[in-house]
Amino acid sequence: MSLIKYTIRRIIALIPILLGVMFLTFWLAQLMPSDPWTLMAGEHMTDARKIYIEDQKQKWGYYDPILTQFLIYMKNLFSGDWGNTIAVLPKDTPVWDIISVKFPKTFEITILSVSIATVVGIFAGIFSAVHRNQWSDTIIRFFALVGVAIPVFWLGMILQFIFAVKLGWLDATGYQGIQYITYKPDITGLRLLDSFIKGDFDVFKDTVLHLIMPVFALSFISVAGITRQTRSSMLEVLELDYIRTARAKGCSEHQVIYKHAWRNAQITTITIVTLSFAGLLGGAVLTETTFALNGMGMMTIDAINKQDYFLINASVFLMTIIFVLANLITDILYGVVDPRIRY
């Protein structure tokens, strides 16, 4: 009961944030040096083109003040019309069509990386906390810090150099081998999942081989954060009084750690996991660039470079929504794990 109330309260608290972000993005995109309509026009315009542009101008409220434009934009957004691309190829396609192709790609890498990172990070963190100040702890801490400090694109390049250039085991870039370039993941959009469902194990294997390096690079970085967070919250929890009670009850060290301490340390780990998921989803730009994976990140950069107004807006909105949702999920999980929070 109270959990539902708590959830509703969290959702209400998130709405103004979402609106604020949307407006700011909208405003920033308007501030960009070039005007979408001029870009749209091109050099040699047919009359039909002129009419089309004028239509678009009317539709998006070009002649109205910015607030009205924003409202119009929001209205269109909710009715499913996210605008058409202006400069990014293919031109004049609905933005949503492009995103629905790019998004699963990024999503696939992200979910894989974060799941691996979560499992590894939590265990490494607990191990490190339990063996505090022993050599194994120092090594884990050092690697965790390396993970935080390493530039992901550089890590990617090193992987490429070793496994693609020197050893020749893997392809340096891309999503698939040249022979599968036409393969369309048309069930969920996730290449691994679709090929597995359809039984195309050649494609599946090919995809796995292509994803190993980017997923490794991304998870190496998120593992670091998760390990550090888990370690420090475990250390904190292990000093608390109720851990002493658990020991006095006769719990073995294993029970103390996994039954009592870990449940309480989870709370902070949840945050870092959900936030790194949201962060990777929005910020896999660098990895995608390094490995030439044509996902959301690369698309957004392309859109900014070409000043594709609608595409920029749409992708920033999407990333913010994901971030806000991740926050919401974190909050709800907090409430589930810790009964004290949902008063």
Binding site: P16, I17, L18, G20, V21, L24, T25, L28, A29, L31, M32, P33, N133, T138, R141, F142, L145, V146, V148, A149, I150, P151, V152, F153, W154, M157, I158, Q160, F161, V165, L235, E236, E239, G279, G282, G283, V285, L286, T289, T290, T300, I301, I304, N305, Q307, I312, S315, V316, M319, T320, F323, V324, N327
Partner: protein, 337 residues
């Protein structure tokens, strides 16, 4: 009550002793028992008294004394030396590094004795660019973080102390800014404004404010409810004094830790930004170098690896020191090791 009372004369004459005299006192007290036989047990007590006086400092330093932190300090020292004395260390001038070295040098050539780390685009010396790059990374990292820390701290303390509507308003703004996808929004801002160093620096500085505001607000809220704040009010301190004389000094520990961490973080994201091509072209920058060398990992891997290694080491150093500082400063970890 106590055995020793201070005479009035003593009270009037009492001034803090000069440092040298204090030190000689300490040596006398530390080592006195060596010279006077049979004094040992009582000397131990005195020694303990002196120890408690210096305990906090001592504890702080011993806590920093672990191999990882020392390693971090060592690297920071080297990188800072590079940045400050770059013109003395390398034979290649900054201008030459920008325009490229005179003819006769093949671009992307392998390391040789004149160019120990090889040559990159336009015949630029990789080592020289590594050294010059430290300068721009550190300057940009430091300046933007100083903007964030100063403004973020002020806002955080103010927000937490005022509470109510002001606090709510500030925190909603913070939430909004923090909900943006960081790198993307920087790129958008830069493409609106310009890719000059000042713009990038300011953008990062301003986008960093909310993080600090939130951090400081959290700590300050805890401090605000402690009894010493009420005691200060009873002693007649006004709001400004309470905010900056009482609350702020007690919030410094997390600021210092976050500061060290974030210098590393900013250097890292600046590198990412230049890797994507959004950088000030008049700067020697590690990220830019990697960007240039990206397509040459087949024929000139050194050109990409060296600056990357520079980034890794510098960032790692700041993180190591930040980690060490956190262990030393965190009150929750105090008193155990």
């Amino acid at each position: 009550m106590e055995d020793i009372k201070i005479t009035n004369l003593e009270a009037k004459l009492y001034r803090p002793e000069p440092f040298g005299k204090q030190m000689s006192e300490i040596t006398k007290k530390y080592l006195g028992f060596l010279f006077v036989p049979g004094m040992k047990s009582r000397e131990l007590e005195r020694r303990h008294e002196m120890l408690t006086r210096f305990k906090s400092k001592r504890r702080f330093i011993t806590k920093l004394n672990n191999p990882l932190t020392i390693f971090g300090f060592f690297i920071i020292f080297i990188v800072v030396t590079w940045a400050v004395f770059a013109p003395l260390i390398t034979v290649f001038d900054y201008d030459i590094e920008i325009t490229g070295i005179a003819e006769g040098i093949t671009p992307w050539s392998a390391p040789n004795y004149l160019h120990p780390l090889g040559v990159s685009k336009f015949g630029r010396d990789v080592l020289a660019r590594l050294i010059w790059g430290a300068r721009s990374s550190l300057t940009m990292g430091l300046f933007s973080i100083i903007i964030s820390v100063t403004l973020g701290t002020l806002l955080g303390i103010f927000s937490s102390y005022q509470g109510g509507i002001i606090d709510n308003l500030i925190m909603r703004m913070v939430d909004i800014i923090m909900a943006f996808p960081g790198l993307i929004i920087v790129i958008i801002l830069i493409s609106i404004l310009s890719t000059s160093m000042q713009t990038i620096l300011l953008t990062y500085g301003i986008l960093g404010i909310p993080g600090y505001t939130r951090l400081i607000r959290g700590t300050a809220l805890q401090e605000k409810n402690k009894t010493y704040v009420e005691a200060a009010k009873v002693a007649g301190a006004n709001d400004l004094k309470i905010m900056f004389k009482h609350i702020l000094p007690n919030c410094l520990a997390p600021i210092i830790v976050a500061f060290t961490f974030d210098i590393g973080g900013i250097i890292l994201s600046l590198a990412g930004l230049s890797f994507l091509g959004f950088s000030d072209s008049s700067l020697v920058e590690w990220g830019t170098d990697i960007n240039y060398a990206r397509n040459h990992i087949y024929d000139a891997p050194w050109a990409a690896f060296t600056p990357g290694f520079g980034i890794l080491l510098t960032v790692l150093a700041f993180m190591l020191v930040g980690d060490g500082l956190r262990d030393a400063l965190d009150p929750r970890l105090q008193g155990r090791k």
